[in-house]
Amino acid sequence: MADVVVERGRVARATGARKGSSLRNALGRKSTVAFFLTLPLILLILLLVLYPALYSVHLATLNKAMTKFVGLSNFTFLFKRETFWMVVRQSCIFAITAVVFKALIGFIVAHFVHNIPAKGQRKWRGMLLVPWVIPPAMSTLAWLWLFDPSYSAFNYTLSFFGVGPIPWLGDTFWARFSVILVNVWYGAPFFMIMYLAALKSVPDQLYEAAEIDGANWWQKIWHITLPMMRNIIAITTLFSLIVTFANFDIVRILTSGGPLDTTHLFATWAFQVGIQSSDIPLGACVSLFMVPILAVAAIFILRDVNKRGNEA
C-alpha cells in the first residue's frame, strides 16, 4: 500500500519534469538511488571483511614461508600438538564459565536495581555500568596491578583474614580463575543493562495477578519473568558467548597466555603463533578454529532476532 503511494509520488514528479533526460530518470529511480546509498557499505563488507575471511582460509593452506601450498598439513600439525588441545579446552572453559557467571550476576543485579524505588535506579544503574564503559585494555591494567605478585592489594587485604598469599597469575588454577574473574567483571554490567531493560517491559499486571493467586517470589521469577525475558536472555547470552570466545585484550594483558600456555585462548595463541613467531599460516589456521562455534551461535542469534522482529 505504502509502496503504491510512493510510486505514484514518483510518477507525478516524473511527469512534472518531462524535460529530464533519461540519465536523470535512471538516477532518480529507487533502485539506483538505493544502490548508491548502500555501495560504501557493500564495498566495506566485501573488501575488508569477506575477502580477508576467505583469504585466511587460503593462508591456512600455505607453508610457513607462504611459498607453497601444503593442503591440510597445518591442521594435522595442530591436531598433534598438545598445546592446541589445551587451547581448545581452555577457550571452552573460559567462555562457558564466564558467560554463565556474567548472565547470573547480571540477572541478580538487574533484579536488585529493579526492586529499589524508581528514583534511585538511575544512580545505581549509572554506577554499575562503569566496568563496561572503561576500555578493557585500561581496566585490565588495573586488575594486573591488583594481582601484582609482590604488592598485590588483594593479598594485602586477605592477609587480615589469615588467607595466605594467593599466586593470582602465577599458578595455573588461579591464573585461569583470574582471567575469568576479570571477564565477568567487565561483561556482567552489559547483561545487567539488557536484563533491566527487559524487566521494565514485563507488564506489572502479570505480577499483580500472580500475587493475588498467592505466588511466591521464586514462582514469579520462574513462571513470569523468565518466560517473558526468554528471547532477550537468549540473544544476550549467545552474543556474549561470541565475544567472550573471541576475547583477546584481557588474557593478553593479564597473563599473555602463561603460565606455560595454560590460559591461552584461540585469539591470544593465534597472535603469538601468527604475529610474534611470524608463522602467519599457522596463526590463520588457529583462528579459523573459532569459526564453527561462532557460526552456530550466530545462526541461533539470527533466528531469535528475526523472531523478535516478527513479534513486534
Binding site: V5, A34, L37, P40, F112, M138, L146, R252, L294
Partner: protein, 303 residues
C-alpha cells in the same frame, strides 16, 4: 457462594497486607545490601587506579596500606601530560576516533536509510549480512588483514603497515555494521506517513533523508556516534598488530608497551595513563548516559 468466599477472605486480608509490606521492606534492605556489595566489586579497579595514580613511586614501593594515599601527589599526571610521547598517543587516539566516527556515519546512515525504506532486490539479504558482519570478531580477521595490508602496500607502494592512518580504514569494519543495524531500527520506527508526505511534496530521496530522517532519528544517531567513538577508542588488537613505531601507537597499546619497561613496572604512571585513557569514554558516558544505554540495548531490541 461467591459472597461466602469473599467473607472468608475478609478477616485474613489485613494480616496478609501487613506481612506483605514487611516483606517489601526486607526485600528493599536486602536489595540495597547486595547492590552495595556489587558496586564495591564493580568499582574497585577504577577506584584503585585513582588511588595509585595519586601516589609517588616511593610510596608504592614502601608497601604501606595499598588502599590509602598518605602523601597525595599529582606528579604522575604532570609527568605524563608533559611527556610528548604520551600526548602523541592521546592525539593519535583522538584523531583516529574522530575520523572513524565521521566515516562510519557517512557509510551507515545512507545505507540504513536505503535498507529501512527502499525495498530493493537483495535488501533483506544485505540487512542480514550486515548483522552477521557485526558478529565477526576482530580476532578472526587480524591475521588475514595483516597480510592483505602488506599485499596492498607492495602493490601500490603506499606504506600502510605501521602507520596510524591504516586504522582509519580498518576500524569501520567494527563500527559500521552495528551502527547501520541500530539506525535501520530507528529509521524503521519513523511513521511512513512522514516520508510519503515529503515525497508527494516533491522531495527527493536525499532530501527526505537529510530533512526528515536524520532530524527525527537524532537520538539514535547520537547513540550510534557514541558507540562508534567508544569502540574505536578502546580497540586494542588491531593497533597492536598493525602499528609498532612509538610515534604511531594509540593510547591502549602505547600505555601497555612503553610504560612497561622490561620487568620494571612504574605502576603510578601506568595507572595514571590508564585513567587518562579511560577518561574520554567515562566523560561521554557521564553526560550522555541515556543515549549510551539506548545504543547498548537497541542492538537486541530493535530491528
Amino acid at each position: 457462594m461467591s459472597t461466602l468466599a469473599i467473607d472468608k477472605a475478609g478477616p485474613s486480608r489485613k494480616v496478609k497486607y501487613g506481612s506483605m509490606s514487611r516483606d517489601r521492606t526486607w526485600a528493599l534492605r536486602w536489595s540495597y545490601f547486595f547492590l552495595v556489595l556489587f558496586a564495591i566489586f564493580f568499582l574497585t579497579p577504577p577506584v584503585y587506579m585513582l588511588i595509585t595514580s595519586l601516589k609517588s613511586s616511593a610510596e608504592i614501593s614502601a608497601a604501606t596500606n595499598p588502599w590509602w594515599v598518605f602523601h597525595p601527589t599529582l606528579s604522575n599526571y604532570v609527568e605524563l601530560l608533559s611527556s610528548n610521547q604520551f600526548l602523541r598517543f592521546f592525539w593519535n587516539s583522538s584523531i583516529i576516533s574522530i575520523i572513524v566516527v565521521i566515516v562510519t556515519m557517512m557509510i551507515s546512515i545512507p545505507a540504513a536509510f536505503a535498507l529501512a525504506r527502499m525495498k530493493f532486490w537483495g535488501s533483506a539479504t544485505l540487512a542480514t549480512g550486515v548483522f552477521l558482519t557485526y558478529l565477526i570478531p576482530d580476532s578472526l580477521l587480524f591475521i588475514p588483514l595483516f597480510k592483505v595490508l602488506g599485499g596492498v602496500q607492495e602493490l601500490t607502494g603506499i606504506t600502510l603497515l605501521n602507520r596510524w592512518y591504516v586504522l582509519v580504514f580498518i576500524y569501520p569494519t567494527l563500527t559500521v555494521p552495528f551502527c547501520t543495524w541500530i539506525m535501520i531500527g530507528y529509521f524503521a520506527s519513523i511513521p511512513k506517513e512522514l516520508d510519503e508526505a515529503a515525497l508527494i511534496d516533491g522531495a527527493s530521496w536525499l532530501q527526505t533523508l537529510t530533512r526528515i530522517f536524520i532530524p527525527v532519528a537524532l537520538p539514535g544517531l547520537i547513540a550510534a556516534t557514541i558507540f562508534a567513538f567508544t569502540v574505536s577508542w578502546a580497540q586494542f588488537l588491531y593497533p597492536l598488530v598493525f602499528t609498532t613505531s612509538v610515534d604511531q601507537l594509540v593510547l591502549p597499546v602505547g600505555i601497555t608497551t612503553t610504560l612497561i619497561k622490561g620487568d620494571v613496572f612504574n605502576w603510578g604512571q601506568i595507572m595514571t595513563g590508564a585513567l587518562l585513557g579511560a577518561a574520554p569514554p567515562l566523560v561521554i558516558y557521564a553526560f550522555l548516559m541515556d543515549y549510551y544505554i539506548a545504543g547498548l540495548t537497541a542492538g537486541a531490541t530493535k530491528g
